[in-house]
Each structure stands twice: as C-alpha cells, then as structure tokens.
C-alpha cells in the first residue's frame, strides 16, 4: 500500500455539545480512491470538511504528508486539497470566467494558460468549446463538471467530493463518476468522496470507510465491502 497522504489521529468533533465524530483514526493513501459512506448524520461531510480546514476538529491531529495541517498555510492547504460540493456553485460569467477564478485569487497573479483550461475541462468531461458559454446556462451535471474542472486549476493532490452526484440524474451521476475515476488514473489524484448512494460507491471502487454515528464501523476495499451488502 502507498504512503498515507492524510492521517487522522484521535479526531473528535463536537457541535453544540453533540459529538459528531468520535475518536476517528484514519489514513487516506496517496493516489487512491476513498469513499465515505453511511447514513445521514453519520458525520461524513464533517469529516471531509476537516481535511481542508473548512472546519476544525475539537480534539485530535490531522497530518498532510506527515505535517500537521495547522502548520501548513491554510490557503496553500486548500489549493493542495481541492473540494467539490454537493450543489454545484457556479460563479457569474462564462465557463472561462469560472475557471480563471483560482488564478485571480492568488496574490501574485499567474498567467492564464488556455491549454490548461481546456485540458482541465476535458478531464472533467466537458468539451473545450464550452469555454465561452454562459456558466448559468449549463445543465446541473455540466455545472458539477465545471466545479471539478475549476478545482483542478489549483493542481491539487487531493480532491474532496461531498456527495457530488446527489443533485444529478442517474446518467449524469455515472458520467461524473467516470470522470472522477479518470482523474484518479490520469493525474494520480487522491480521491475522497462522500456518498450515501451505494451504487455510486461500488462503481467508483477504492477503499470504503463506513461511518455510523460518528464512528468508523468498517473499512475495507470496495470489492470485499460490497460482497456483503447487508452490513449497510
């Protein structure tokens, strides 16, 4: 097995006095796909949001490449650990305007490379002629692909996906999963995806982490995990 990209040690997260995550010890491996599954309220999204410091754990330590994530400048960490949300959030303007946002956010502006934009679009399953289209006129599935492409502009090592298929119809969901698999294979991206849709979880493959009530109840490779489906 690869070396761990992200490690969680004794993570606890409380919100309003309620324990959302309890004593989580977990490793996400470099270049591997990981799926966090479990019923709603299990703490999957919270766990994901701890990894790019959108939220902070109440207790415990998270390491990124062996370094405490608190010691990595947070903006840098979020560029290395990209995130795609459940509902595709599209900014005003064209597809190109959306893709160039990460460039504009940098203190020292990086020149926009057209071939980088089209490459990332295509990797996310959109054609390069989408660049000049108005982003608000895309379908929900296309919008979600655009948010993936936009996250890729920062050249992350890890991509967090929070129920990325839940707002999409079945066909669009399958297409997005294919793109995510390709990103993992072509770019070697470490994928960490939250889903409650078992079909998508088994299609993506990789390591399955099953959370219930803020605790990991099982962690297994996808093939082994889905052999015995009554455990969910």
């Amino acid at each position: 097995m690869n070396k761990p990209k992200i490690e969680l040690h004794k993570i606890e997260k409380n919100k309003n006095g309620i324990a959302i995550l309890k004593d989580i010890n977990l490793k996400f491996f470099s270049g591997k796909k990981h799926i966090l599954i479990g019923p709603s309220g299990a703490g999957k999204t919270t766990l994901l949001r701890l990894l790019n410091r959108m939220e902070e754990p109440t207790f415990g330590v998270i390491l990124y490449d062996g370094e405490n994530i608190k010691d990595i400048p947070v903006l840098e960490l979020r560029r290395r650990v990209g995130m795609v949300f459940q509902i595709p959030i599209i900014f005003d303007g064209t597809v190109k305007d959306n893709l160039t946002v990460p460039y504009r956010l940098r203190v020292i502006s990086h020149p926009v490379k057209q071939d980088e934009l089209t490459k990332n679009l295509e990797l996310s399953g959109l054609q390069s002629d989408f660049l000049e289209r108005k982003a608000s006129e895309l379908s929900v599935g296309e919008k979600q692909r655009l948010t993936v492409a936009r996250a890729l502009i920062n050249k992350p090592d890890v991509l967090l996906l929070d129920e990325p298929t839940s707002a999409l119809d079945h066909a669009a969901g399958i297409k997005l999963l294919d793109s995510i698999k390709e990103l993992n294979e072509v770019l070697g991206l470490t994928i960490i995806m939250v889903t409650h849709q078992l079909e998508y979880a088994s299609l993506l493959g990789g390591r399955v982490i099953h959370l219930v009530n803020g605790t990991i109840v099982r962690e297994q490779e996808s093939e082994d995990f889905f052999l015995n489906s009554e455990i969910i």
Partner: protein, 265 residues
C-alpha cells in the same frame, strides 16, 4: 452683497404652536381612517418642537461662544448619537458595533468635511461653527442612513451567499476575497439612495438645506452651489463610511484562518 436684501419673517413661538394645528389635522385623518397613529404623531411633533428648539439655543450659544473645542464636541456628540442609532436598528447587535460604526462615520465624515471646509472653502477660523456644524450634520446624518443599509445588507448577503463563499474559500480564497461580492453588494445598497437623490435633486424635490438657505434670504444661486457641494460631500462620506464599515463587519463571520463561522450566521 448678493442675497442679503431680503426681509426674513421671524416665526414667533405662537406661530409655532399654531403650526401644531397641521399635526392635529393629520391626527384627525389618522383617527378617521383608523390608522391609530395619533399617539405617535403627537409625541413626534412635540419631540420635533423641543429637540429643534433645544438645538437652536445650543447652536446660538456655540456660535456666540466661538470656541473650537465646543464645535468638535458637538460633532462628536452627533457621531455618537448616530452610531447608537445605527446600532439600535440592527437585529444583530454586538458590543463593538457602535464603535465600528462610530469609527466608520468619523472616517467618512471627517475626511469629507476636512476636504471641503479646509481645502475647498478654506473657512476662517478653521472651526467656524456656521460652516462646520451644518456641513458635518448633513454628512453624518446621511452616513448614518448609509451605514444602516450597509450593515443590514452585508449581514444578509453573507448569510444568503454562504455556499458561494465556501466555494471561494475551498479554492484558496482569503476571507476578504470570499466575502468580496457581499461587501460590494452592501456598499452598493448604501450608495444607491445617495445616487438616486443626485439624479432627481432640484427636479423632484428641493433639498431641505437649500430651501432653508433660500428662506433665510440667501440668493438661490449661492444656495444651489452649497447644495451641490453638500451632495458631493454626502456621496463621498457615505462611500467611505460604508467601505470602512463593511470591511470591518465582514470579519465577524470569519475566523482568522479564513473559515466561515457557522455560529455567527
């Protein structure tokens, strides 16, 4: 000299009491239409009478006494009262809010009044209360309304744009960058009434200060010139106040490490 050949009709206290009759008519309409605003109307009318008479006497004293510290004191009182008024209008009041508003309004009105009185008009002495107090009063009053709109708007914008803000943060944006659209919307909301009033001034309505100057015998042309400067002052003052205010206010929604504070939404 232009504008001084006009006999001002003084208004006696009896005239003022009689003018209250206008309010009695309004109270009658209120009762007739079942609006039940009579109580508030009477209180409002009496407060107008007492507050303005009090201000009149205070100003008369200050003008006669002619000391810089008294002028500054009056302007400070205006800013404090305006800051407290803005704070009271907010649903989310925090202990630091009146200080932030006071700071923003001091910056906005201070810079504007300084530029106009010291660089443009070059009043002598620099604190001449005839200029400083009314000009400061106008800009502080308008900054107060602008500040109220700015705070209301930035609070609601950050709440409604929560997902967009998080999308920005996840891409490596700073809190300031992520809140940029909310800040711009709040500043716009604060500026729009001022811009609208610049569009219609003189056509739809004659501004109060200009009307007052004309009534007191100033040539309409001089009154208009002052009004033009006042309108520009208000625009700059509202812009600075709302800029300072929104750029401080948005911070309460973020941690120092660029995280949106769930609990503050």
């Amino acid at each position: 000299m232009e504008g001084l050949n006009f006999n001002i009709i003084d208004i006696s206290y009896l005239d003022l009491i009689i003018s209250l009759g206008l309010i009695i008519v309004v109270a009658g309409i209120s009762r007739w239409q079942g609006m039940y605003l009579e109580g508030d109307l009477i209180v409002g009318a009496v407060r107008t009478l007492i507050q303005l008479l009090a201000v009149g006497y205070i100003l008369k004293y200050i003008f006669a006494f002619d000391r810089w510290y008294l002028v500054i004191f009056i302007i400070l009182i205006m800013i404090i009262v305006a800051s407290l008024t803005v704070t009271q209008r907010q649903k989310k009041r925090t202990i630091e809010l009146p200080f932030i508003v006071g700071f923003a309004m001091t910056a906005g009105s201070g810079i504007t009044v300084f530029v106009v009185t010291q660089i443009l008009l070059q009043i002598k002495p620099w604190y001449d209360p005839h200029y400083l107090i009314p000009l400061a009063g106008m800009v502080i009053g308008n900054s107060m309304n602008g500040s109220t709109l700015a705070i209301d708007r930035i609070d609601s914008e950050i709440k409604s744009r929560k997902m967009e803000i998080e999308a920005y943060l996840a891409l490596g944006a700073t809190a300031r960058q992520a809140a940029g659209a909310s800040i711009r919307a709040a500043m716009k909301a604060a500026m729009i009434p001022t811009i609208n009033s610049m569009m219609v001034v003189g056509i739809v309505a004659l501004p109060g200060m200009m009307t007052g100057q004309i009534l007191s015998g100033t040539s309409p042309l001089i009154a208009v010139k002052y009004q033009i400067i006042i309108m520009y002052m208000i625009a700059l003052s509202v812009a600075i106040s709302s800029y300072v205010l929104t750029n401080i206010r948005f911070n309460r929604y973020f941690t120092s490490d660029h995280r949106l504070k769930e609990e503050s939404l």
